[in-house]
Amino acid sequence: MTRALPLRFRRVADDTAIVADEAGRFFRSNMSFVSRLADGHLTPTDKAFLDSRGFLLGKEDQLNETSFLYALAQRLQPPKPLSYVILIPTLRCDLSCAYCQVSRAAQTAKGYDWSEETLQAVLQYLDEHGGESIQIEFQGGEPSLRLDLLERVVQFARARFSKPQFVVCTNLSSIDSAFADFMASEDVYISTSLDGPSWLHEVQRTQNSDRTSRFFSNLSKACDLAPGRVHALPTLDVNRLPEPNELLDAFDAFGLRSIYLRPVSYHGFARKHHPTSVGYDPRWSNFYSSVIHAMISRNTSNCGAAWEEFYLTHLIKRLLRPGENSHADIRSPNWLGYDHLVIDYDGVLYPTDEARMLARTGQVDLNLGNVQNGLDLGRRAQMQAAAFNALDPWCSRCPYQSACGRDPIDDLARHGHVNPPRPRTAFCQRHTHLFDLAASLIYSDCPDTQLSLSKWLELPVPTKLGEQHL
């Protein structure tokens, strides 16, 4: 006797539902199909469709059981060795942005830099725990204030790892000749904040026109020094959003077309100044969607590099490709403290940068030990128990569950515990909107949208990607 795999659905329009299995394999259908499924009255046509897409169980060949289990196993990826590390060589910074994502110290403060002993312990830790390759991100504070420490890490990593990559997260308020030399290396990437048009960047960050023009001329200089290796991301306040095309033009001026749109985050000092950012503001969804549509209309067959929103592209890949688990911000199980680690200015280890901020703001200390004495495995195991969404009573009804993820650190930051009712969390609201948007693009009949998808997924030609049973 054949039967459908356990399926969950979400009604995305009057008579349209996204239906998926536990492995996140999905299709679009209508509500009468959902009723037939629920009532156990599937027609032969329904069954033929379910069989052809691998959703029908109980046949002699067991192939659908196998392909389902294979896809599920791809989602439940095992932990991998350390491959991405965020280093905080100094907490000092020469700016004090109103919603600083990271805690900071004044430029002249003492005791907020790695000591020689901490540096040595960091290098030894990377040597012992790193795999074959590594990406090292320098955060701060403003890491370029301690270029000497960066150079010693880089020198060590180039000798220890095969093809290491370095990312310097910098405010670009100054580029002296040593920093210019540093960013000229092919393995060095620059990540900076560009909040959009100069008026907005000035209001949010630089505060006066001198500093604003210095930043813009430094960004230009960085693009020349590190061609193709500069990335900029905007942090946006939902109360002060730019026009989508105004935002895109600001990035286009520097040849930057892959953008990661971030709302002000409820971490670090941002919490004091933006108390409302604990919840999710639906105005963000509208803004986000309109930026995506502005990008799609700019993506033509001869536009050159594609416009894309980095995170949306990743979510679309996660919907379509069960093995796409590369991004530590969105996965389940979310292996905290395994492949991705943060080492603070005092050598303390954290699973993520957000966890470091929670400790700094005194909310909850999620440290995982320190470089001197190693990982605290007991604390890591405790955290891990909350980093899996499949058994959550809300998530297990959602067709996006296996493409989505779990962030217990965000849960703690916003709700003070790890089990808030999911639909009330900003994480769930934001991601439900993102996945709904992703699904609407996947099922769009619009040739422009299909063209953009083909660029984001690097497909030879635009085509209809989603499965459907109508």
Binding site: R25, S52, R53, G54, E60, D61, Q62, L63, N64, E65, T66, S67, Y70, A71, Q74, L320, R321, P322, G323, E324, S454, L457, E458, L459, P460, V461, P462, T463, L465, E467
Partner: protein, 360 residues
């Protein structure tokens, strides 16, 4: 086209066939060059001595050969430096594919001892292919060969071209032996529709058996290269096949889509079977896009560079068998020639393709 069989004169024509490696210095299991005359090269293998034309002698240095004194032939079973060496297990087959490039025969000559010897003499880290006919008609002998050779030569990898009609659940445990992690199974699938696939391979029930075998191979962790030959019959539904492969066969390593070889049955049925993908690119373009969107690895074979859409060119592979490559006179000045699959030697012409021509 590279010759795979070489004429030889043996001193003792009544001696039994043997397998040896061709070399410059005498050693165990080596047919060593003993004299180099202007026209012929003379080799010594144990008590036997044989000669071949000197240009052939030069080209076969380092090869593992099967020598048959009775017929005066050397078969270059494992050519030195080639990654396209394939050993024929049998000429029998239980399918009769419309376009079969190597039509089956009823007779079977058991060559397993010679095949095993050839594998043991293979160059370090060689990949050895097994083909037929249907090699798994002699499953137990083949498994035994793989396990014996696999143990003695942990450096070798294997590619086995099979219709996958002969696996059963009892094989699952055996296929979990480590030697099978060095095997890739090349398995043809021609359609997502059972009836169409069965008709193409001329065996009722073949599709159903194939689906069971895929499940079983996935359960034992086998590496599968799925193969689809383009035909007039299956071409327009290729995107549907791409959806089926993406959803039901996500565990395959590679999906090889290939143009037909004009040999065997296909030679006489060419006009009925051949589909010109250059005249109608949409089904191929779309199938590759669907498969890629689901992160399947797609490889296109036997398609001249100029005949596919520019967007598909990164998916082209030079050839599935190096010894079959050939070019047409029109290709003389083409800038893509060095990385083009060319044509099968049996039909060195661009005339089959509506949209083709040298790239300048």
């Amino acid at each position: 086209m590279i010759p795979l069989m070489i004429k030889a004169s043996f001193e003792d024509k009544s001696a039994p066939p043997f397998v040896a490696r061709v070399g410059l210095e005498s050693a165990n299991n080596t047919a060593a060059l003993s004299a180099e005359l202007p026209d012929v090269h003379i080799y010594q293998y144990r008590e036997q001595s044989f000669s071949v034309a000197s240009d052939m002698g030069r080209s076969m240095n380092g090869d593992v050969i099967f020598a048959n004194p009775a017929t005066g032939t050397l078969h270059r079973w494992l050519r030195s430096g080639s990654s396209h060496n394939t050993l024929l297990v049998t000429e029998r087959c239980d399918q009769l594919c419309q376009m079969c490039s190597q039509p089956p025969r009823k007779t079977h000559l058991d060559m397993f001892d010679h095949l095993k010897q050839a594998c043991l003499l293979a160059e370090p880290c060689a990949q050895i292919g097994f083909s037929g006919g249907e090699p798994l008609l002699f499953k137990h002998q083949l498994f035994e060969l793989l396990e014996t050779v696999g143990e003695a030569r942990p450096d070798l990898t294997f590619h086995i071209l099979t219709n996958a009609q002969h696996f059963d659940t009892a094989d699952v445990e055996r296929l979990r032996l480590t030697v099978y992690s060095r095997v890739k199974w090349g398995i043809p699938l021609y359609s997502d529709q059972a009836a169409m696939h069965d008709q193409i391979v001329a065996k009722p029930g073949a599709f159903a058996q194939l689906m069971s075998s895929f499940a079983l191979l996935a359960h034992s962790g086998q590496s599968i290269e799925l193969r689809t030959v383009l035909l007039r019959e299956n071409y327009s539904s290729l995107p549907e096949l791409a959806r089926m492969v993406s959803n039901r066969l996500p565990f395959i390593s590679t999906w090889a889509i290939m143009q037909m070889e004009r040999i065997g049955f296909a030679r006489n049925r060419w006009a009925d079977l051949f589909v010109d993908h250059s005249a109608q690119t949409a089904p191929l373009d779309e199938a590759v896009s669907i498969a890629t969107s689901r992160s399947l690895d797609v490889a296109l074979f036997n398609m001249p560079y100029c005949t596919v859409s520019p967007a598909l060119r990164p998916y082209l592979h030079a050839s599935i068998s190096d010894w079959k490559n050939a070019f047409s006179s029109e290709c003389k000045d083409c800038t893509a020639k060095s990385f083009c699959a060319g044509f099968f030697a049996w039909h060195a012409t661009l005339a089959d393709y509506e949209r083709a021509g040298p790239i300048r």
